[in-house]
Symmetry: C2
C-alpha cells in the first residue's frame, strides 16, 4: 500500500517537531526513475498557499523527482516570506538528493497564517532524506502517509494493480500499479479540498498522459466529495511516474487505474471527515446532462438543513427538494412536479409530493445514506458524497485553532 | 407597531389548532382601503409551496384586499391537493369578507410535505375574520405577528413613520407610515428565506410604485441576510397600501421607508436565528462593483468553517480569506496579495498576510461580530449578515421534525 507500493519509489515520514503532539509531520517521496514524469492538480482557490504557487510552477514542465510534504502548518497567507520558506524547503531537498530545486514539489497542511518553524522543518527533511536512502526507504510509504495527517484519525493509502494488456502476448503477466496516500478529514470541497494526495505509478507514461489521466480522475472523484462546502488554500493532488515496471500504459488504462485509486482515497476521506456520523451519497439520475446532475447533487450536499436532519436520523425529503429547487433552470432543466426522491431505497417523495411512509427509512441503522433524486429530464447521472452536519463537526471546527 | 399601525388596516391572530403547542397559528390582515394596492416578492426556489404559486398569480394585477397566513404547516410538496387546499383557504376568506378570492393572498409556514388540517384551518379563519371585524381588529397587529411564529422566540414587528414632504406647505405635518411583521428564525438565505413578511402602508401609491419600492427594499435587506445558506419553498414578502393617510408618496420616499422597515425586520430575524450565538456582519469594501462586494460577502457568510470558528470565539481570518478566494475572478476582480481583513476593528490580516495580533479580538464580549474585507479593487461596498454555526443550530435542525 501507499506510495512505495509501485516500483521505483522510496519514501519516509519523520518527526520534525512541527506538531505539538510529537507525531510524524514531515514526509518525503522520491522517484528513482528511470522516468521523472509528474503531474499535479491544485486548488482553484485564488487565495492559495505558498507551496501551491511553487508546485504549480515546478510541475509545469511535467518533471519532478521528489515531493516534500509537511503537516503542522499550511504556509498560507504568509506573504513573500512564506514563499521564501517554501523555496528554501525545495532547495534543501534538492541539495540532499543532488537534484534541481525545480524538480521538487512542496505541499503543506495545517493552520493558515503562521510561518513554518524552518529550523525544525529543514532538520526534519534531513532526517527524512536519510531515511528514504536507508534500507527502509523502499517500504517507507506507510510512514509518509502518517506524517501528512492533521485531524485525520487514520492514514489513507491505496494500491491498485494491473496486468499489462498491451505489447502482445510476450508481455502477458507483466504488472504495473498505482499507489497513493492522502490526508484530509473534513473541509472537502469541489476544486479539491483541504487534502493532499500523492499518487505514484511504475507505468511507462509521458507527462501529457499523466496529466490527462490525473485530471480525468480527480474530476469524478475528489471533485465529487464535499464534506462541508469549503475549499482550501492548499489542496494538491500529485502523480509521479517512475516507469520502473517497464510496462507502457495508454491513457485509457492509466485513467482507469488512477481513477480507481482516487475513488478509494476520496471515499476514505469522507469516511473519516471531521465529526461526521454519516457518509451521504447523493445520486442524481435522469438529468439532462452530467453537469446538471452534478449541480443538483451539489445543491443537496451543501444544504446545512438537510445535513443536520441526517445527523438526527430524519429522512427529511422536503429539505432535499428545497435544495434541488435552488438550482437555476438554465443549469438543470427539470419539472419540480416530476421530482422523485428515494432515501435508502424508500421512495419518500413521488412527483414532487408525498410518497411512501418516511418512517420506513431507518437512518440510524448504518453510517451510509443513499439519496436518489430522479429529475426525469434526460439520461445523465452523477454522484456527490458528503457528510452529515453534527455537534462534533461544530465542536472540532470551533476549537481547531484555539 | 405591526401591520395595524398604519391607518386602514385590521388584523387578528388566533389559535386554530395547527400547532401542537396550542399557540396562535392563523393570522389575517385586511386592507380596508380606500386603496387596494398590493405587491409581493416571492421565493425564487423552483420547488415552491402551493401558497406561493397562488399568491404569485393573485398579486399579479397589483390588487389585494387581505392576506391570510398560517403557521404549523408549509403546504409545500403537497401536489395538486395542496394547491386545492390553498384555493379553498382563499375562497373561505373571500366569502367571509365578501371580496373576490383573487384578492386574497395566502402564506403558509411550517413542515414540508404534510397536508394542512383544513377543518381546523377554516374554522380558525372564521374566528380570525370575526376578530378583525370586532372592536380589537384595528389593534390586532401584534396578535397576527404572534400567529406566524414557528421557531421564532419573539415576534418581529416594525413601524416606520414619515411626515409628508410633498404637496406644498398646507400638507406639512401630515403623517404616513409603514408597519410590518415578519417571522423566520434561521433558514435565511438570498432570494429570501423561510420567512414571511407582511408590510402595510397608509401612503397613497399606485401598484407599480409599491412593487418597485418593495423590490428595491428587499434587494438590500432580506436578500442580504443569510443565516445558513438555505432557501425556502415558502418565502414571501407582501406590501399592502391602503391610502388611508391621504398622503401621496413618491417612489423614492416609499422605497426609503419600506427599506427601513425591511432592514429592521431582517436584522431582527438574524438576531433570533435558530440556535445562533453571534450575529455576524460581513462588510466588503472597495470592491469593483456592488455585485462583486455581495458575492465576496456571501462566500464568507456561507463558510461553515468560518461560522463554526465564530461560535468558538476564534477570530480565524484564514478561513475568511480562504472563503474570499473561492469567488471567481470574473465575478470579483481583486489581488489576493492585497486583501485586508479586520475583525471588530482589529486588522488581523494585512496585504494577504498576518496583521495585528489576533488575540486583540475578543469575540466573546458581544453578540455582534463585524468582519471587514477590503478588496482594494474599487469603491463599491455591501454588507451581508449571517449567524455563527453552533451546537444548538445542529440540534434544532436535526430535531425539528422528529
Amino acid at each position: 500500500m501507499s506510495v512505495t507500493a509501485p516500483a521505483g519509489f522510496r519514501a519516509a515520514g519523520v518527526v520534525a517537531g512541527l506538531k505539538s503532539t510529537g507525531a510524524k509531520d514531515v514526509a518525503l517521496v522520491v522517484n528513482e526513475g528511470p522516468l521523472d514524469v509528474a503531474a499535479a492538480v491544485l486548488t482553484s482557490n485564488r487565495v492559495h498557499a505558498a507551496p501551491v504557487a511553487w508546485t504549480r510552477q515546478a510541475v509545469s514542465d511535467g518533471i519532478a523527482r521528489a515531493v516534500v510534504l509537511n503537516s503542522g502548518g499550511a504556509n498560507a497567507c504568509t506573504g513573500p516570506e512564506g514563499f521564501a520558506d517554501t523555496h528554501r524547503t525545495a532547495e534543501h531537498v534538492a541539495d540532499l538528493l543532488e537534484i534541481s530545486a525545480g524538480d521538487v514539489l512542496v505541499c503543506s497542511t495545517g493552520l493558515i497564517g503562521l510561518r513554518l518553524p524552518m529550523d525544525a522543518l529543514l532538520a526534519g527533511i534531513g532526517e527524512a532524506a536519510a531515511a528514504t536512502a536507508g534500507p527502509g526507504g523502499a517500504e517507507g510509504g506507510p510512514d509518509a502517509a502518517q506524517a501528512i495527517m492533521t485531524t485525520d484519525t487514520v492514514p489513507k493509502t491505496t494500491h491498485v494493480t494491473r496486468t499489462a494488456t498491451t505489447g502482445g502476448s510476450l508481455d502477458g503477466g507483466a504488472e504495473w500499479s498505482v499507489g497513493g496516500m492522502a490526508k484530509g478529514a473534513g473541509m472537502l470541497a469541489p476544486g479539491l479540498a483541504t487534502m493532499l494526495c500523492v499518487l505514484t505509478t511504475d507505468a511507462v507514461v509521458d507527462a501529457a498522459t499523466a496529466d490527462a489521466a490525473l485530471r480525468a480522475a480527480t474530476r469524478v472523484t475528489f471533485d465529487r466529495v464535499d464534506s462541508d462546502g469549503c475549499m482550501s488554500t492548499n489542496d494538491t493532488v500529485i502523480l509521479l511516474a517512475s516507469g520502473a515496471s517497464g510496462v507502457p500504459v495508454g491513457l485509457a488504462e492509466l485513467t482507469d487505474a488512477v481513477t480507481e485509486a482516487c475513488a478509494e482515497l476520496s471515499r476514505a476521506l469522507v469516511a473519516d471527515a471531521e465529526g461526521a456520523s454519516h457518509d451521504v451519497a447523493v445520486h442524481v439520475v435522469n438529468a439532462s446532462s452530467e453537469d446538471a446532475a452534478v449541480a443538483v447533487a451539489r445543491a443537496v450536499t451543501r444544504s446545512n438543513l438537510f445535513k443536520a436532519a441526517v445527523f438526527g436520523n430524519d429522512p427529511n425529503w422536503g429539505r432535499v427538494l428545497s435544495a434541488v429547487g435552488t438550482v437555476p433552470v438554465d443549469v438543470a432543466p427539470f419539472d419540480a412536479l416530476a421530482l422523485d426522491v428515494s432515501i435508502n431505497g424508500v421512495q419518500v417523495c413521488r412527483a414532487g409530493g408525498v410518497g411512501e411512509d418516511r418512517d420506513l427509512v431507518d437512518l440510524a441503522a448504518q453510517r451510509e445514506v443513499h439519496v436518489e433524486v430522479d429529475l426525469h429530464a434526460g439520461d445523465a447521472r452523477a454522484t456527490v458524497w458528503t457528510n452529515d452536519l453534527t455537534h462534533d463537526y461544530v465542536h472540532e471546527n470551533s476549537a481547531y485553532s484555539s
